[in-house]
């Protein structure tokens, strides 16, 4: 485990009482605002001192109230990317990037510097001052600055929350490359499902200062029990896919474990591993294979579970090959179709329902 956290803390009326472990990869602390996510990441960074608990990163104990251990912030070696960038206004981009090595009296590391600059596309920004950067550029510099402090783990507190949709879409691919190439585990705080679906390898769901559930991203995102936390409209599972071919008609075929998925032209070469988020509300279910229907994607699936909420809806968890999918349908439909766990049916998905921002780079390769 690259991170192990257990802590208790009182903040007025709010109580934090939780424990979780995170493997390598991107662990997303997920929950609504006010669930205590930022307090947890600040406790890991050492910016907040919990009343009690134990925090260890990569086998090194950073905080242990029982043993009286609390490593000072500047010795924790955790790169922290804040929501608002927090670049030093009196330094150039280059000086911001090299700040950590300078204050730690380490000599310059040109190879690491060039690698991070290339990874985040910072080459043209190096001599600018932070005031002259756009929000997205500033955040990329902040990520680079944290990476160049040679951290054992990266902490990111909703790094995209302050950006508009277009800027978000601009940064997400960089974060995916980071996940694959930097080799640094990441603890990522977010309440945005689209980000979670794109980036997470592991999800820790929080509510009211407690961890409600934790596990691998695919399983968590396809868990009907978590739909309430994720939000009905945002709930959706992710499928592992590989680009098979790009059709002349503007449709790309993707191989998924349960068949072939046809999506509007995907901007990735043939053979690329992708991760595709399928919103529960875009999936229809049919007990017989529909014919003469415009939807291009019809996958045979097995019903695993049905979960009724308070409203008229039912969340159905189905298995397509090795992957899990969620479908949000009405209780009336579920009854009319006679859906029950173990039964087989067909999942129907309109190709155009999948937004380009819901297609990200896969975890492998």
């Amino acid at each position: 485990m690259s991170l192990s956290v257990s802590l208790r803390h009182r903040l007025g009326d709010f109580a934090l009482d939780l424990a979780f472990e995170a493997p390598d990869g991107v662990t997303v602390l997920f929950g609504r605002s006010g669930s205590g996510k930022t307090s947890v990441i600040n406790a890991v960074a050492g910016l907040m001192q919990p009343d009690a608990g134990r925090i260890a990163v990569a086998g090194r104990v950073l905080f242990d109230s029982a043993a009286g251990v609390s490593v000072p912030v500047h010795r924790r070696r955790l790169g922290y990317v804040f929501q608002e960038g927090r670049l030093f206004p009196h330094l150039t981009v280059r000086q911001n990037l090299t700040y950590a090595r300078r204050v730690q009296r380490l000599g310059p590391d040109a190879a690491a510097f060039d690698r991070v600059v290339a990874l985040l596309g910072l080459g043209s920004l190096l001599n600018r001052q932070p005031v002259a950067l756009s929000g997205g550029e500033a955040q990329r510099v902040a990520i680079g600055r944290a990476l160049l402090s040679d951290p054992v783990m990266l902490l990111m507190d909703e790094p995209l929350a302050a950006l508009d949709g277009a800027r978000k879409a601009e940064i997400l691919p960089y974060l995916e490359r980071l996940r694959r190439e930097a080799g640094v585990p990441i603890l990522y705080v977010s309440h945005n499902m689209a980000e979670v679906a794109r980036l997470a390898t592991h999800v820790v769901a929080m509510e009211g200062g407690r961890v409600t559930q934790a596990g691998p991203a695919e399983a968590m995102l396809a868990d009907p029990g978590l739909v309430r936390v994720m939000g009905l409209r945002d709930a959706g599972a992710v499928l592992q896919a590989r680009v098979l071919r790009h059709g002349e008609d503007g449709v790309s075929d993707l191989q998924v474990s349960g068949g072939v998925l046809c999506l509007p032209l995907v901007d990735a070469p043939v053979g690329t591993d992708l991760r595709v988020r399928i919103l529960a509300q875009d999936v229809m279910l049919a007990t017989e294979r529909p014919r003469n229907i415009s939807a291009l994607n019809i996958l045979p699936v097995t019903v695993l579970a049905l979960r009724r909420g308070d409203g008229p809806g039912v969340i159905v968890q189905v298995q397509a090959g090795d992957d899990l999918l969620l479908a949000r349908i009405t209780r009336r439909s579920a009854d009319a179709l006679g859906l029950r766990p173990g039964g087989t049916c067909f999942a129907v998905l309109k190709s155009v329902a999948v937004a380009p921002t819901d297609i990200g780079l896969g975890l492998q390769s």
Partner: protein, 231 residues
């Protein structure tokens, strides 16, 4: 005829010396006090704040007399200073510098404190996460960001020290060539018949010095601000 007589020139030179050393010596203490007042959370904080501001509201003569009682040759601190280090402040130019520093201190601290309060502690937290110790955070983030305020505080203190009269004359008297600063000299020249002319020239000199100091600080502060804002 020369513009100023030798006594008057000596007064100008002495005033510059006194103000320079008073400002320089007060600078670290002023910065430390300003930082404590801006960031510190400790029991005696408002007491310290009151103490710092005392010279601003007390009659200068009272401050001067208190200095004489404390730092005079028979005062508790003055006696120790003389016995241990052989330093005598009363009726010396060093005493004038001390009086000027004390009188200028509140102005200096105020300017610096405002500058420190304007620094976002989140930037300092970010620096800490990047591996900077508290001292290095101060040197590499806080200090560059408050530099304009520090300069403004220093210039304000310098101007105040140049013009200090009441506490100085009470503590170190008005000895030409030794403790007679420009304000004391103006006062002295006004006491003798035919001295108004020299007094007026000294007034012109002090106005010129004040303006020059102000212009210098404006220029420095603008330069620093430009560098910090990155334009």
């Amino acid at each position: 005829m020369e513009f100023l007589g030798p006594d008057a020139w000596r007064a100008v030179a002495l005033s510059l010396k006194v103000a320079f050393w008073a400002t320089l010596a007060a600078l670290p203490f002023g910065l430390g006090t300003a930082y404590l007042l801006a960031r510190g959370r400790f029991p005696g904080r408002s007491l310290l704040n009151g103490l710092v501001h005392l010279p601003l509201i007390l009659p200068p003569v009272v401050t001067g007399y208190l200095l004489l009682l404390t730092f005079g040759r028979r005062g508790p601190v003055g006696q120790l200073l003389e016995e241990w280090f052989g330093i005598v402040l009363a009726f010396r130019w060093t005493g004038a510098a001390l009086a000027a520093a004390i009188m200028a201190f509140p102005l200096m601290v105020r300017a610096m404190r405002l500058a420190i309060e304007a620094v976002d502690p989140k930037l300092e937290a970010a620096a800490a996460t990047l591996g900077a110790s508290k001292l290095r955070v101060f040197a590499t983030v806080t200090l560059p960001l408050i530099a304009p305020g520090v300069i403004a505080g220093a210039v304000l203190a310098f101007a105040k020290a140049m013009g200090e009269f009441g506490a100085t004359i009470t503590f170190v008297s008005n000895i030409p060539g030794q403790t007679q600063t420009v304000p004391s000299a103006i006062y002295a020249f006004l006491q003798v018949p035919g001295g108004e002319d020299t007094a007026l020239r000294l007034v012109l000199v002090s106005v010129a010095v004040a303006m020059l100091a102000l212009a210098l600080s404006e220029w420095l502060a603008r330069r620093v601000a430009r560098r910090i804002a990155g334009r």
